[in-house]
């Protein structure tokens, strides 16, 4: 099973994400934002956290129009898995691969701390290693994590069980306490908290490792 991790100018969680995939048994290819194709046989694309293109215009806006994102969109259209974390979530919303938008935190402050998250659905390749309702701890590190969408979109996300994670204590003003959402086919996940930063016992809590193991488990069966 093979993962590709994209690097944009200003990405800073790309290596952490690659290591988290490797620890779960993935072969990892590193992909540059100007690449026009993904390596052959990629099962999952990781869009990492960071400050792509300096957050110019809007967080993730420039990266979402990078050449590699057309290849990521084709991969998603084929039913491929995509995981966007933090800035990667912002990139996926800007690219239209996930609904909604990430706005400035309601408190206007950059928030960098571990947060408790409720696993809102276990019905996805990413969250099947958790029980629905289980509380896990991942770090957050963002200035623009305030998830917003129009009321119809929010209602549809809830009705279709596409809210993947919610904050136990909302740190940023996100609508419905949303920390992460799934695409309609449940194969694209974007979330603000960082599972890849909670996946190595040498660095603290490891609640995030189960996401990478679960994804690897699905692919190993395939």
């Amino acid at each position: 099973m093979k993962a590709a991790v994209v690097t944009f100018p200003g990405s800073n969680c790309d290596r952490d994400l690659a290591v988290a995939f490797e620890r779960a048994g993935f072969d990892v290819a590193r992909v540059w934002h100007k690449d026009t194709d993904l390596p052959a046989g990629v099962d999952v694309v990781g869009i990492p956290g960071g400050f792509s293109h300096g957050d110019y215009l809007r967080c993730g806006a420039i990266a979402a129009r990078a050449p590699v994102m057309a290849a990521v969109a084709r991969h998603a259209d084929r039913g491929g898995f995509v995981l966007g974390i933090c800035n990667g979530f912002q990139v996926l919303t800007e690219a239209g691969l996930l609904p909604g938008a990430l706005m400035r935190n309601a408190g206007l402050k950059f928030i960098c701390k571990p947060v408790a998250l409720r696993v809102a659905t276990a019905d996805s390749a990413f969250t099947r290693g958790y029980a629905a309702g289980q509380v896990v701890t991942y770090p957050v590190a963002h200035h623009d994590g305030n998830y917003q969408a129009d009321p119809e979109t929010l209602a549809a996300l809830a009705a279709e069980d596409r809210i993947a994670f919610t904050y136990v204590e909302n740190p940023n003003g996100a609508a419905r306490d949303i920390a992460g959402v799934l695409s309609a086919n449940r194969r694209v996940l974007g979330l603000m908290p960082h599972p890849e930063r909670a996946a190595d016992p040498a660095l603290g809590p490891t609640d995030g490792a189960a996401m990478f193991r679960a994804l690897g488990g699905i692919l190993a069966q395939a």
Binding site: L57, A61, R65, A101, M103, R104, A106, G107, Q148, A149
Partner: protein, 81 residues
């Protein structure tokens, strides 16, 4: 003559603007007590090679839809001069 486009991007009505609210609060701290609301947006100026106003406006509106504004949360207006 080459044209200049000015794009105003603002949050849609009803979308909370915490930055605008912080600016309003700071103005109040400075003694400007009559400010009831502040909305903060962006102005983007483009120098265009185009000389046809209608075509230029259509192209800039396409730029807004595809990049300059996030129409999930933002609205935009285009002025060609």
């Amino acid at each position: 003559m080459a044209l200049k486009a000015t794009v105003h991007v603002m949050l849609k009505d009803g979308v909370l603007d915490p930055q605008g609210d912080a600016v309003r609060h700071a103005l109040g701290t400075l003694g400007f007590s009559g400010v009831q609301a502040v909305r903060q947006g962006k102005v983007i100026e483009l120098d265009l090679a185009a000389t046809d106003r209608a075509a230029a406006e259509a192209e800039v509106r396409a730029m807004c839809e595809r990049l300059l504004a996030n129409t999930v949360i933002e609205k935009f207006s285009v002025t060609i001069a």
